[in-house]
Symmetry: C2
Subunit: 187 residues, 2 copies
């Protein structure tokens, strides 16, 4: 009986981030990642199109969870409150990924091309959130403004979350960032 090997994708991500941390992102090859995970290059390419995608594969899950959270938000909440309430399932996901997120953030910070990709992913996320708000009956303008504001709140909170040590601090940092946005936008 062959041993069942659970979650090849998870093992590849763990191996990749260890290697990126030990020897740098640029210096790490797909062959090394596969070897560290005890898998083949072929298996790697079944899960990721390239090395860069290891860093960005979480974006789809983030978007999926955030949209689930938006769908579950109270019907009478204001548009930005809906977007921020939508972060509840994301908070759970993030609590499990703090170590990965910190190493990932340092890699992206050091690489302008990865920063551009991150920016594009955040815009895709904002567009998806705006479409979800429109589907809830919010006007197009209000939806775009609330989605962008929500992504900004997220982005600022995320930067603080990776800069500190508590994996479970994300929700608190989101609330702080939201309060600060409300304070700077007040008339």
């Amino acid at each position: 009986m062959t041993r069942w090997k659970p979650d090849a994708q998870g093992r590849l991500m763990k191996a990749a981030i260890e290697l990126f941390d030990e020897q740098g992102y640029e210096a790490t090859t797909v062959a090394e990642i596969a070897e560290r995970a005890g898998l083949t290059k072929r298996t790697f390419f079944r899960h990721f199109s390239d090395k860069r995608e290891v860093l960005f594969s979480g974006s789809e899950e983030l978007q999926r969870l955030w949209l689930e959270g938006v769908a579950a938000a109270p019907a009478d909440a204001t548009p930005l409150a809906v977007v921020v309430a939508g972060l509840d399932p994301v908070t759970e996901m993030f609590a499990q990924r703090h170590a990965f997120a910190r190493i990932r953030a340092a890699i992206i910070e050091a690489n302008p091309e990865l920063q551009e990709r991150e920016l594009i992913k955040l815009q895709t996320l904002s567009d998806a959130l705006a479409a979800a708000l429109v589907a809830r009956g919010v006007s197009a303008n209000a939806a775009i403004l609330a989605a962008q504001a929500g992504v900004t709140v997220f982005h600022v909170a995320f930067a603080h979350w990776v800069a500190q040590d508590d994996p479970r601090a994300f929700r608190r940092l989101i609330d702080a960032s939201l309060g600060e946005l409300r304070s700077v936008t007040a008339a």
Copy 2:
């Protein structure tokens, strides 16, 4: 006596946008742009690194004018009010460029690679505005949130401005967009 030819850059921009409008952005060559402007390719490349830069050369002027506006804003204004007040000099520039902006917006809308470049330029603008707010004594967090919110207000107003016919409507659309942002972010 040779005839003095003013503003080669302005003529190249005008020629380029005419050709983009007539025959499409992709189909237009630098040689055609230079010929239409009555200039050489060599002169084109003294002003622009490539065809794409004709579309983005206004970004630096936008940023310069916006930062001038921020520097001139009242000392006691709230951070977002400073960013929005900073758009006064931009409003003047835009009133002269409505026809160019409309054609440019349609080209960018149709081209994902140009959309990515526009997104990166907007992020550069946001970073510069945040730095200007920090220089005015605003905290780093509040500066990032206010700058991003200001760029979002700008972006939404800009989309409406190019979708309608009045070149001088920009300030009114900014005020409407700001009011709407305040409404969606309210607790």
